[in-house]
Symmetry: C2
Subunit: 459 residues, 2 copies
């Protein structure tokens, strides 16, 4: 397909035209399931968030196999034991599933014996020893690069294919430019993944094998920061309060009550999180992954999650629900090392932020990271790379431009420029140039980041 | 336009359809001018390169104003004095030019008085003093981060607009992913520009005001590495031989004879170069920029360059021709600090490299940087972001995928994977996972880069 890109474009056009026919049916299903979803969640979560999360997963699945939405709407009420089992970790495949897997696009990448339970890789139980030995032997790669400043690797990525929605790649480009800027200012390295390392863990589960591989390959990395491609930094001055997490291994945006008491599927968000390199990380990845394998396992696990979690619509198992379920059911095992952060937006739901940017500019300043100036604006449910031409995606794209420009203004101000408006790509000067450029101080003190970063984190 | 992206897509579709009508006429003109070009250059440069360079500029200009190709074919023989003057630095505008500028897309960004000669910014003559004072006062920002290891900022970028050719953004994304990988391995920071800082210097001249701004804002940066968005790293292991340039300020791929003796417009390439931060850099930027301002100045200067340089086709002044002209006419002033490198591919023309990747894999290994394993493969003339659906761009896209995968294989091998073929996005394992990941050494020793980087540069 890549051998003939113009051909590929043409065929994509045809595919698109074909998909359009499905949109009508899907809108109908959307309404049905959204209603079911809100009724289920309204009491507990923020309905607005639920709607977005539900849209999110519907988009996601629609792109994969639209017609299956129907099947699931029909099978919701079932309480399938097999589902419960598979969720417990035993993957009981049957002829049908194997055929299903073999017709899959990436099927020939599939080495794994369907009779064996899925594993992310060889069991490792002495990673802390291996790692600290390595760190001793390689003093030129300290896992801390300053006081309270761990070495951090930000990991993100996108599909190796061009987006179904052609404009989507432009937003992926803006999203990585935005991350490059934040990471340059805060001394963070970036790994952008475009490869599917494990065909079974495609979709929202792909991050798990990738993260494990990177932790094991980079003992010098203390914290791995996963960030979805549809999340952007909107506070370029905010430094993560690393010292706050010195006794924790896993930091996600969320609320203890919503996860542990309500088992609410949006009690936390897995679109932007910090994971400390160590044996504990390998262990929780192993405990997190069993619901991931594509096909029967993921579908049956989805039923269990929908049954057990508050407000979750019907769809195959996703990594976020699985994490809520894991923490809620095994709090004693993991809870003491998990920090659910809500003092700032490690993840911030775009729906409640994007319309307030002007108000933030009016009243506040970068560096706060919270509702006054969010660190991250996450376009949950927008899937700009997917083909879905309804109004909400149109709104998404407009708002993604605003979020990008909102963040980009903090970079441009360093050099004396700003966007003409949050809606404009165009820039204008905010100060005249001088013959003594080094006397100019940017208000945010972002010009000399590494230093600033450490200073901020220790203040 | 960005306020309504779907609307924008529709309107782009219409524009595209409209442009298609022009392709036929253009192919005709293409042939005419390509012939003229080769006859002019064949004797001196590599005809193959000339053809690509000529295609390059034709694409470039076609996208801007196709019909003008004709005018210029007609006016080639003219030897216009006004052109010579404008090239000498005096910009003589007239009513017509000003009107022309005012109808320009970015016209309202234009603050500059057309009666004043163009300037990149306030005159600075003591930058070396200012900078060394700053470096003394900020020891936490050394301009050298290791023995023979200067602090380097790689600067690249692309238009703030989505590509006219929708698949183009996907190639920009792959291109920046490729740069992120090389720069992470070699301890280089990245600045990705998406803003037009100076409307007058749009197009191939936009890099000049950007580079000046970055040099003045980042005194800690010793070398700025400019790289076009259509250039990709194909040798992830090659470290630039920094010590070789200790007495030089400006490094470009090129040949002394072709620049100084032949005045050949492709005697050097400005798509990938190294510029040392200092007063000398500000001075050469000032000497380089006078042919840049859009409109009459750039057009007249183009005539001078075509008249004075070997093998140059007819089109408005471009930054590369202007640099050849500057060095050829003022060698005594600049030559002693300019290093024209051809021992490795700081820039490598794709046409002579991409078909040899399999042969390179067969016979050589990364780290050589030259014809055996090129550091950079530059897709001169491909303009994947521009709308141009002829065969050569189809070939470009296919070859850009091959170049990306060729470079990406060197990253994937670190983690035990490789692309199934240079034509495939898909990856496969090249070794089994182990319980002792730290005992695995990647053949290229790229796993722990900063160290490697310094080691290579001093070997």
């Amino acid at each position: 397909m890549m051998d003939n890109c113009l051909g590929a474009q043409r065929s994509r056009k045809i595919q698109r035209a074909f998909r359009h026919c499905k949109v009508t049916i899907l809108c109908l299903l959307l309404t049905v399931v959204v209603l079911r979803g809100t009724i289920g969640a309204g009491k507990f979560g923020t309905p607005e968030k639920d709607l977005a999360e539900i849209r999110d997963h519907l988009y996601f699945r629609k792109r994969a196999e639209p017609h299956r939405v129907l099947e699931e709407v029909q099978t919701t009420s079932e309480n399938d034991r097999a589902g419960a089992d598979s969720n417990a970790g035993t993957n009981n495949y049957n002829e049908f599933d194997i055929k299903k897997i073999l017709v899959d696009e990436e099927s020939d990448d599939l080495k794994h014996d369907p009779n064996e339970p899925y594993s992310l890789g060889p069991k490792i139980s002495d990673w802390d020893e291996q790692r600290s030995k390595w760190l001793k032997e390689n003093p030129s790669y300290p896992n801390f690069i300053g006081p309270n400043k761990p070495r951090v690797l930000l990991v993100t990525g996108s599909s190796p294919k061009p987006c179904e929605n052609p404009v989507g790649d432009h937003y992926l480009l803006k999203s990585i430019k935005n991350k490059i800027d934040y990471c340059r200012l805060h001394g963070i390295e970036i790994f952008y993944n475009m490869a599917l390392l494990d065909a079974e863990m495609a979709g929202f589960w792909a991050k798990l094998p990738l993260i494990r591989k990177l932790l094991l390959s980079h003992p010098e990395v203390e914290f791995l920061w996963w960030m979805d491609s549809d999340a952007m930094f909107t506070d370029m001055a905010f430094e993560v309060p690393w010292e706050r997490y010195k006794d924790f291994n896993f930091v996600m945006h969320g609320w203890n009550e919503m996860v542990y008491d309500q088992k609410n599927w949006i009690g936390l968000n897995t679109g932007s999180f910090l994971l400390r390199n160590g044996q504990w990380a390998l262990d929780i990845l192993d405990a997190w992954s069993p619901m991931g394998p594509k096909g029967k396992v993921r579908e049956e696990a989805g039923k269990v999650l929908t049954r057990e979690l508050k407000g979750r619509p019907v769809f195959e198992a996703d990594d976020q629900s699985a994490m809520v379920y894991l923490l809620a059911t095994q709090r004693e095992k993991w809870g003491n090392k998990v920090y659910l952060e809500n003092a700032y937006y490690l993840h911030g739901y775009w729906g409640i932020l994007v319309d307030r940017y002007e108000e933030m500019i009016e009243n506040y300043h970068p560096g706060l990271g919270d509702h006054r100036w969010p660190l991250v604006t996450h376009f949950v449910g927008c899937k700009p790379c997917g083909k879905f031409g309804d109004y909400s995606v149109e709104r998404c794209l407009k708002q993604m431009d605003r979020a990008f420009n909102f963040g980009d203004n903090q970079i441009l101000q360093i050099y004396g420029f700003t966007h003409k408006s949050l809606a404009s790509r165009r820039v204008k000067r905010i100060r005249n140039e001088t013959g003594n450029p080094l006397d100019v101080k940017d208000e945010l003190g972002l010009l000399h980041p590494a230093f600033k970063a450490v200073k901020v984190s220790s203040s």
